[in-house]
Structure formats: structure tokens, C-alpha cells
């Protein structure tokens, strides 16, 4: 045993303590924390998939599903040769002549959008489902053909100019929505899961047992988030521009600022959601409960305007609505930052409130 070993006087050890040496930039605590955060994210293949591959796959899938196609030919059915003949004038209709019960069956099962029958006294009967847009369109086209066959002459001559330019298609609407959704998802998951996991593993407790300045820990998350943000936004926008020619009409700097503020607001929300939870299950339940309403209501896939007017103020106050509205206004309408002030104010408010609350509630253990 070491009772016999000479124990150097602790005073001598204390005297040995030199003034702190200058450390290289890379060995600064904040830099190390940020690098470590960044490394941990990059080494998590699942996280990388959700952040980078998922939005691209989603955009590609939806872009293909909703691509602009030449107007579709609608299928309709008749039971008399005379009607068939007159309806065939219309190029956008595919007319099928059937026996009566087969025609009824075809309409009922949706194989045809419209059934045209001869009524009494030379009138024509249209049978269709008026809640089905295809049915309504088919009826208009069929009626035009029937009337023109009967000798109607349109009093006004018309000309058509077709518009299929980038900026007004569904994919143009979708890409900013996906970008907003991605900003929210990666910030909240990135923040929430890692903080809760570190708390569960008592790593947070271990860190505060060192001289690490506590704000550095949170700042490192912010900095690594910003680094990831550049890649995330770049990939989604680049993909949209390259494959679908989705435009960015506003200033890129403004767009970057919107993304930055949005990501910070969502990170603060993620931090708030993760401030107490001790298990991943509890945290993910909380995060999904917060994100799900926004996925639905904030206009990722369809316009938030479709919801009733009563709830519009509520929807507009959601951070994801603000982020997506701002992104769309910048990218599609070329709106300036000044015009985006209301959305930026909403995001700023979320950032402030969530961050202050999170700091108050945050548990290191």
C-alpha cells in the first residue's frame, strides 16, 4: 500500500498550477461542442435520411404525381347511335355506346363520368355526380357538342392562350412548403431527441460537473444547426430548381434570413419540448403532438386558406404557417423582407417566448 510512498505536498501541486495557456481556436470549448454536435449528427444515418433524402423523395414523388399534363380525355357513355355521333365531335370526350344496364353500371362504378340519354320530345338527359369535377366538366363538354350539332352558333368568338410557366404549378407551391416542413422537423427532432437522450444517459449531468459554461452547450446546438441549415436548404432548393425549375424570385439573402429565423424559432420550440422530458418516448409524443397540427394546418401540401375563416388568425400565428408563407412569398412572388415583416414577427415571437420558457424550465438531470 502507498502509506509508505512519499505523497507530494498538495501545496506544491497548487503552486504548479500555471496561468492558463492560450488555447487554439479549435480547442475552445464552444468550438469543440459545436464540432461534436455536428459530428454526432453526421454519424446518425437515420437523421441524415430524414433531413436530406426524405424531402427530396417526397418532392420527387409529389412532383411526378401532380405534374402538369395535357387536359385529360373524359370517358362518357350513351345508349343511342345518334347521340354517340353528335358527341364524338368533341375531341376531349371519349364516347362509348352501351346497352342501358351496362351504361348504368359504368356510371355507378366511375368508369364513365357522364351518361347521356335521349329524353322525351328530342330533349337530352345528363346523368352524373355533380360533386365530381370530372362529371361537371364532362357535362359542359357534352352539352356544347350536343348544342353545336343541333345548330347553335356561339355569338362571341374566343381565343385561348395556354399558361404552363414555372411559378404557378403545384410543384412551385409544394417546394417552399416542404422546405418549411423540413426546417421544422430537423430543428425540433434534432434539438429534442439529442437533448433528451443526453439527459437520459446522464451526459448532461456529467457536462455540468465540468467547468463548461452552460450557455455554450445551447449555443453549440444553434451553431451546428446553422451549419446543417446551409446543406438542408441548399439541397431542397437546388433539387427544386434543377429538376422542376422552381424559381426563387426574391433575394437569396432574404430567403436565407427567413430560413435562419425559422430554424431558430423551431429550435427554441424543440428545446422547450425537450426541457423536462426524461425519456425519448415522452419527448417524441410531445413533439408529434406539437408538429402534427402544423403539418395539417400550415399549408405544406395545400393552401391554409381552405380552413374556415374563424381559425385563420390561429393558423397564421403558427410558426410553420409563418415560415411557409414567407418562403412562398419570397420564392414565388419575389416579396422583399419588408413585405414579410408580419411573418418574421411571428417567428421572432416564437423564438423569444420558447427560448425564455425553455431556459426557465430546462433540467440538466
Amino acid at each position: 500500500m502507498s502509506e509508505t510512498a512519499a505523497i507530494p505536498d498538495a501545496r506544491a501541486r497548487a503552486a504548479e498550477r500555471k496561468a492558463p495557456r492560450g488555447k487554439s481556436f479549435a480547442d475552445h470549448a464552444l468550438v469543440q461542442l459545436t464540432i461534436v454536435r455536428f459530428r454526432e449528427t453526421l454519424r446518425e444515418p437515420e437523421a441524415l435520411f430524414w433531413i436530406f433524402a426524405f424531402p427530396i423523395l417526397l418532392a420527387a414523388g409529389l412532383g411526378i404525381a401532380f405534374r402538369n399534363r395535357p387536359a385529360e380525355v373524359l370517358k362518357i357513355a350513351t345508349v343511342t347511335p345518334a347521340l354517340t355521333q353528335s358527341l364524338e365531335r368533341e375531341k376531349l370526350l371519349a364516347v362509348e355506346q352501351l346497352v342501358p344496364h351496362a351504361a348504368e353500371e359504368a356510371l355507378r362504378t366511375g368508369k364513365v363520368a357522364l351518361l347521356v340519354l335521349a329524353g322525351s320530345n328530342g330533349s337530352v338527359v345528363y346523368r352524373y355526380d355533380d360533386t365530381n369535377p370530372e362529371g361537371r366538366t364532362a357535362r359542359m363538354l357534352a352539352d356544347r357538342a350536343v348544342q353545336q350539332t343541333a345548330g347553335r352558333v356561339d355569338p362571341v368568338s374566343t381565343n385561348e392562350v395556354l399558361m404552363r410557366e414555372p411559378g404557378s404549378r403545384y410543384i412551385d407551391f409544394l417546394i417552399p412548403g416542404l422546405l418549411g416542413m423540413n426546417l421544422m422537423g430537423s430543428a425540433i427532432w434534432g434539438m429534442g431527441f439529442t437533448v433528451v437522450d443526453a439527459r437520459r444517459k446522464k451526459l448532461l449531468k456529467r457536462l455540468i460537473a465540468t467547468p463548461m459554461p452552460k450557455p455554450y452547450f445551447l449555443l453549440s446546438y444553434v451553431f451546428s444547426r446553422i451549419l446543417m441549415l446551409v446543406a438542408e436548404v441548399g439541397i431542397v432548393l437546388g433539387f427544386g430548381a434543377w429538376i422542376f425549375h422552381v424559381p426563387v424570385r426574391g433575394s437569396l439573402l432574404d430567403l436565407a434570413l427567413v430560413c435562419l429565423l425559422g430554424s431558430l424559432a423551431f429550435s427554441a420550440l424543440g428545446l422547450l419540448l425537450a426541457s423536462r422530458a426524461k425519456t425519448i418516448e415522452a419527448a417524441s409524443g410531445l413533439m408529434n403532438a406539437v408538429m402534427l397540427p402544423m403539418w395539417i394546418a400550415s399549408g405544406v401540401f395545400f393552401s391554409a386558406q381552405r380552413f374556415p375563416d374563424v381559425v385563420q388568425p390561429l393558423i397564421k400565428a403558427l410558426p410553420l404557417t409563418a415560415a411557409i408563407d414567407a418562403l412562398r412569398a419570397n420564392m414565388l412572388q419575389g416579396a422583399s423582407l419588408v413585405q414579410l415583416a408580419p411573418q418574421m414577427a411571428v417567428l421572432g415571437a416564437w423564438l423569444l417566448v420558447c427560448f425564455v420558457l425553455a431556459l426557465r424550465l430546462f433540467r440538466w438531470r
Partner: protein, 314 residues
Amino acid sequence: MRDPAPRAALRVTGLRKAYQDVVAVNGLDLEVCAGECFGLLGPNGAGKTTTVEICEGLTAPDSGEVELLGMHWNSDAKQLRQRLGIQLQDTQLSEKLTVFETLRLFRSFFEQGPGAAEAIALVQLEEKKNSRVGNLSGGQKQRLALACALVGDPDFLFLDEPTTGLDPQARRQLWELIEQFKSSGRTILLTTHYMDEAQRLCERVAIMDNGKQIALGSPGELIASTCAEHMVAFSAGANAPALDVPALRRIEGVRDVRSENGTVEMQVTELHLAVPALLAELARQCIPLTELSTHSATLEDVFVALTGRHLRDD
């Protein structure tokens, strides 16, 4: 001016901490001298970890004083953190990072101390320098945790159950490392429920039970003051007649006899006299022996003598 290294590196007085339904620490006084390795011993739930975490400034006590390296948590936390090395019970370090990256991170929090590579050498993990933490064995993880506690070149080292859950070989390896650091003048406070660990590493130990200190001294002193030098244990066959315990107590050199689960334990001062006498007495009582063993008394025996319970009831 504060003396940077007072004789008592840690002084705890009247410490009390209660959680909702249990009193974890109930009026504890401790004094750890500079340069010694002090062991805090006790069964699970004795209040060791709570005590250590209060000393580490991670938990606030309900009442009581902690003076550490002449400083106090409420006024000198920042300086204190720089001078402490802390190993917590079951911290899981980030599995995605390598050993080197982990230590470089921890090193960045401290103003001075060995570099990451140096710390890796201290705990003999050179081969695993670039391995992910997730791929380390239990013993290697504990050595990494120890290295994380050492990167700040601490004056005071807290080790909370450093070898719990390790296999015997890994434990011995860790003990050797801790012994090396002891000789460099650091003060160590170690908690453990392994008596052999305390006996091997600690100059002095305090035995805790139910939030209180029930014994204090060097392992040798504690053994000498509470039990005899040797322990004799035997068990009789299942069909043996009832044992006449008072007769055993009367044997010369026997200090105490305890019977538990069919095993009889006796504290004995002079083994060479007591064992033949015991055998003769058992023969007289017509009791067949199925097992007989002797060992030098340990801190475990001290704990049993003091509380009537074994340290590890698992």
C-alpha cells in the same frame, strides 16, 4: 487570502438531504485530508451517491456545510469546477464519438491539464484512441470516464463506484490506475460497495448506513476495533442435530458466533487454537461438517458486525 491547499481538502458538517419520502443523508460529518484516498462505503441506498453529489456541487443539501479545497459552492463554483475531477455513477458518454474526440471535448472545458492524447495514455487506452465509444468494453468505458475526470489535472478526484459492474480483471486494472494517481498527491474520494476495493485503495474509510456514518478509520483499525483477526465459517449437514451455540462461544479465542441460513460464522483471535477446539466440540455434539473455511477479517465482516447485515444483499 484563502489558503489554496488547507490540511482538510474536504470538510462536511451536518449534511442533510431528504427526498420526497426518504432521508438520503441524515446529519453527516466528514473530513478528507489533502493527499489521501478516502473511501465512502456502504450498501446501495446508504446515501453515498447523494453525499458525493452534494460535495460535487450537483445537488443542493437541505442543510449542512461543504468546504472543498478551502472554497464553497455558493461563492467559488467557477474556480472549484476547474480543480475537480469527477466521475459520476453510470454516465453514458456519446457513443458516436471516438475516445480521442471525447477527451478533446472534455479537455476544452478546462484551463489546464494533460492533452487528450496524454490522458488516453494515462488510462492505457492508446489502442482504442480512434474507436467509437459505443464499441468499448465496460472496463474501457470506465477507464475513459476516468480519463475524462483527469483531463483538468484535478486536485480533488471524485470516483463514484468506479468499478461497479466490471469483471475482476477490469477492476484490478482500474485499481492499478487509481493507485498510480494516488501517488501524485491528488486527494480522492471514492465510493464503493466493494469492501476489497476500499481495503486496497483507501487510507481511511467511512462506513455509511441509512444516511449516517457508522464507523470511521483506516481499514486496519476498523477491522481491529470491531472484529477479531480471523473469521471461521462452517456449515453442518441438513440432518444434523441442533447446534449448541453457547458451547461454541465458550471455546477459547472465539469472540462472537453468528448463525445465518445454516452457515455459522465465528470471529476468532487465535486460529490455531480455535479450529481444533471447534472440531472437537462439533464432534462432541455429533454434528457432521459439510463445509469449513477461514479467512482474515475484512471490512465486509466489519459491516456485518456493525449492522448485522451483509453489504451486498443482491
